[in-house]
């Protein structure tokens, strides 16, 4: 039986972040239900607005993690080509050119990157949000253009 290839291991790590998000999302929804029905209380030193912020920021938090997994994988591959550390924008462009990624997909990945940047550097620019499932689809489709294996 063939062993799992490096590219597929990275793809799986990206996907795993989305699965963790789905569990966390359900946990937060259940927490709200329990809170509203008086079954549970807010943790000490927290207020309702903190719980609301947890809900509001959950998907964005996981999008940052999703992109971090994608970036780590991309840099792991790029390190086998060159001994430099380009900015993420340049890295996406360089690998897209090398691996024949369509312009459309490359641009969609940049939209995810820009949204991720807007989350990290809160409110700098108004960026169209990208849902986590859409981001995962774009990042995995792009990542699947990499070769099967490399020395990580």
């Amino acid at each position: 039986m063939a062993r799992q290839r490096v590219r597929d291991e990275w793809l799986e790590r990206i996907k795993a972040v989305e699965r963790e998000f789905l569990v966390a999302q359900t946990a937060v929804e259940d927490f709200w239900t329990a809170l509203n029905s008086g079954i549970t209380e807010l943790p000490a030193k927290t207020k309702a607005r903190d719980a609301q912020a947890t809900s509001d920021h959950l998907e964005g938090t996981y999008l940052i993690r999703l992109f971090a997994a994608f970036e780590s994988g991309l840099r792991s591959y790029y390190a086998t080509l060159k001994d430099t550390t380009p900015a993420m924008k340049d890295l996406i462009d360089a690998i897209a050119a090398r691996r024949n990624v369509s312009d459309e997909l490359r641009d969609e990945v940049h939209e995810v990157r820009e949204y991720r940047n807007s989350l990290v550097h809160e409110g700098e620019n108004e960026i169209e949000p990208v849902a986590l499932s859409v981001a995962r689809s774009r990042l995995c489709t792009y990542f699947a253009r990499l070769p099967d294996d490399w020395k990580s």
């Binding site: 063939a2 799992q4 793809l11 499932s133 995962r136």
Partner: protein, 153 residues
Amino acid sequence: MSQLKLPKKPVPDWEKVRDEWVRAVEQLVADVEAWCKANDWPTRRIEKRLEDSRIGEYYAPALVIQVDLVKLMLEPVARYTPGSDGVVDLYLMPAYADAASIFRRGSRWEFFAVITADKLPEDERPFQPDSDVVGMPGVFDKASFTDLVQLLK
């Protein structure tokens, strides 16, 4: 193969539990391989490494399936899941989009897929004005797998 990591929070008889789970996944993969062969869909097995705090590190097979221009992957996810004795997911590749989750319940496998309603024949579409997707549960066998693949294509 290097030394497998031991479980951090082992369940009683964890080696037996792990081996029994791996055997169940191997049997499922073998069944799906046979169903694919009957439909002339090429497959390729991959050895996947998994880590679980209760049964340690282990290897189990995953299966890549090529159906015309569509690629699917059957991938073991976890032995311990709420309400079942393990789950294997079916993904549409390369986007890694969820196609179905396949749960082991007792000696059989059951699936739950979310299908966009427009993929279903018109007379089978439920009246759900608030949703364009339909949940499809059922026993996972040759007929349901073949039907599911046709809906995913």
